[in-house]
Amino acid sequence: MPAPLDWRRARLAATRDLTRDVRLLAIEPEGAFVPPTPGCHIQVGVQVDGRADTRSYSVVDPGRDGLYRVAVKRLATSRGGSRYMWSLAPGARLLVSSPANHFELAPGRPHYTLVAAGIGITPIRSMALALAEAGAELRLLYAARTRAELAFADELGALLGERLDLFVAEEGRRIDLGAVVAAVPTGGELYLCGPIGLMEAGKRAWALAGRPAASLRFETFGSSGRHATLPFTVRIPRLGLEIRVPENRTMLDAMEAAGVAMIHDCRRGECGLCAVRILDADGVVDHRDVFFSDEEKAANAKLCTCVSRLPGGVLTIDTADRAA
């Protein structure tokens, strides 16, 4: 059971566009300020198609001025959260939670390797700031498709100098996780945040090198896959249902909206509670969770409905429903 969240009223103090698609929002909560810790996130109440919902955003700095700063990427396939956040003007009223941390930075390690790709820079930035301030040994590798998509790059470069390494795919530089892992000194830790492909590659490289599993830390936003985010159809023969999953909705949400009883907890592909059995898929299943192992994903017996999907086509599944 997740702890009851401490929701409070807040005001959008300021916004600033970091790139064409990434906007920094400074949010001032009312009441006592709970300081953010590196890697933490806050939840924000959002309105999507007239319905209240919540979204989690990593806090990008220590907020010493009493503001929570989050960076929100505008996505064409947004489920509506980023569109809402981008619609807000300074002064807007918000509801936010106190910070929670699912991606904690452990102090006192001999070396830290931070790897971020795309909007995955948000928790990694707060870690880089904290580590640099503490005088820790660190290296930050940051990848994006184009140079214009690198948020915070100039300022991180000024702070970290040689310790920052940028990888711009368009310019032909990609992160080689095997080499990254090989360069991590004994006792060092690797923190990863980015698309699922990067994290899976990181996990494989880490395991292959025989490194202790608990020293690889990663966070997933559950919003990226190996395939395009497109509408698809879920068919549930047992219930006689055929459900359309639009590109801006999760399969879990679409199923619940269609009246299918589901259980779930994390909603980011970690806990596995929302997994259902796959009967047939007329396309490749885009597993976006970190719950199933590589072997389990390859076997395609189940998928996590909170994050995983099909890039179009029909997915036939079974649920836990049984006749009374």
Partner: protein, 358 residues
């Protein structure tokens, strides 16, 4: 509770005597946080949040397996960093599955725990408690675990020794304490109460230790280090032999040591010792002094124990009655002032912003 807690979190607190932490799980509550302590196979002590990430069962009800803790309910395993290394019935481990690992340091025969922001846990901030090292000063103390009073009541008690006259009459108490003047000084982290009683009849305990006839000069120099350690340099020397001027060679010198760790707002763990620089090889004396302090209700600290718990009960029963202060409380008030300063620096709630209605 966060806003009202009377103890700083960003501080080192004694959590156990070093010898108490072995290759087994032991539970404590420190500053309202349940922790499980154990010693790793490499000899380092470890402290984890005492609640499984999964269903919150205290991990201290599980078992130690190598250097990791196995939850006694569903077998989740956590390493000494608090990270989950095993989950039942699945091939992967939820990446956010962690329990807090508390910074620990062992120094002065105690295990010190930092309940606050781990990034700030600098071992250089451990209180100077070298009197407890067991080298120049000798003594064997103990702990009142879960003493049922606010830790600050213990500090009040130790920072004003006039109470000895009434609580500890017949051993260390003496009318001279109440009539001798005292001086209180402070820095930003320490407060010191200094009292000299010149040319007095020694109280029974000190007369025995000195083993010589005649009047004495008695000193009590009590050092408080914020937030919660107290070291009292105490002793007597024959009058006229220069003790007030710094020559204690014709006297006997001891020190009472207190590391007081908040357990909750109204309870604490009181790690105490009484050490001395005289007859340091006399193990019988070490035992006698320990018994003089704690002895099935008859020791001097047993007497304090009874007073402190009764005082806390009265405070809870009369929550709105004022707590008056006297001149004798100057040392205690400086100690409380330094604690309040730390609490304020730790981020007391910001005053609410006044905004125009929109």
């Amino acid at each position: 509770m966060t806003d009202l807690r009377p103890f700083p979190l960003n501080a080192w607190y004694a959590a156990a005597w070093s010898h108490e932490i072995r290759r087994e799980l032991s539970a404590r509550t420190i500053c309202g946080k349940d922790v499980v302590l154990y010693r790793r196979s490499d000899g380092q002590a470890a402290a984890l949040e005492d609640a499984c990430w999964h269903r919150l069962l205290p991990l201290s009800l599980g078992r130690l397996q190598g250097d990791e803790v196995v939850c006694g309910y569903h077998g989740l395993v956590f390493n000494a960093d608090g990270r989950c290394t095993y989950m039942p019935a699945q091939k992967t481990i939820n990446p956010s599955a962690c329990v807090r690992a508390y910074p620990l340091a062992e120094r002065h025969r105690l295990v010190w725990l930092w309940p606050g922001d781990p990034a700030l846990a600098d071992p250089a901030l451990i209180p100077d408690f070298h009197w407890n090292d067991g080298t120049d000063w000798v003594g064997e103390g103990g702990t009142f675990y879960s003493l049922q009073c606010d830790y600050r009541l213990v500090i009040d008690n130790l920072m004003d020794l006039t109470h000895e006259t009434y609580v500890h009459a017949g051993s260390i108490g003496d009318e001279a304490i109440t009539s001798a003047p005292f001086e209180v000084t402070h820095t930003d982290r320490t407060a010191t109460v200094t009292r000299w009683m010149i040319d007095i009849e020694p109280p029974p305990f000190w007369k025995r230790q000195l083993g010589r006839e005649g009047h004495v000069d008695r000193w009590q120099v009590i050092h408080f280090q914020a937030p919660s350690t107290v070291v009292g340099d105490v002793g007597v020397a024959l009058t006229g032999t220069g003790a007030p001027e710094g020559d204690r060679s014709q006297g006997v010198n001891g020190a009472f040591l207190a590391a007081i760790t908040p357990e909750s707002e109204t309870s604490c763990h009181y790690f105490w010792n009484f050490v001395r620089t005289f007859r340091t090889d006399d193990e019988g004396l070490t035992r006698d002094i320990q018994r003089a302090h704690v002895n099935d209700g008859h020791g001097v600290y047993d007497q304090d124990h009874a007073v402190l718990e009764a005082q806390q009960k009265a405070l809870l029963r009369h929550p709105r009655l004022p707590f008056y202060n006297l001149n004798i409380d100057a040392g205690a008030l400086w100690a409380r002032r330094l604690i309040d300063d730390i609490l304020a620096r730790e981020g007391a709630p910001r005053p609410p912003r006044v905004e125009a209605a929109d």
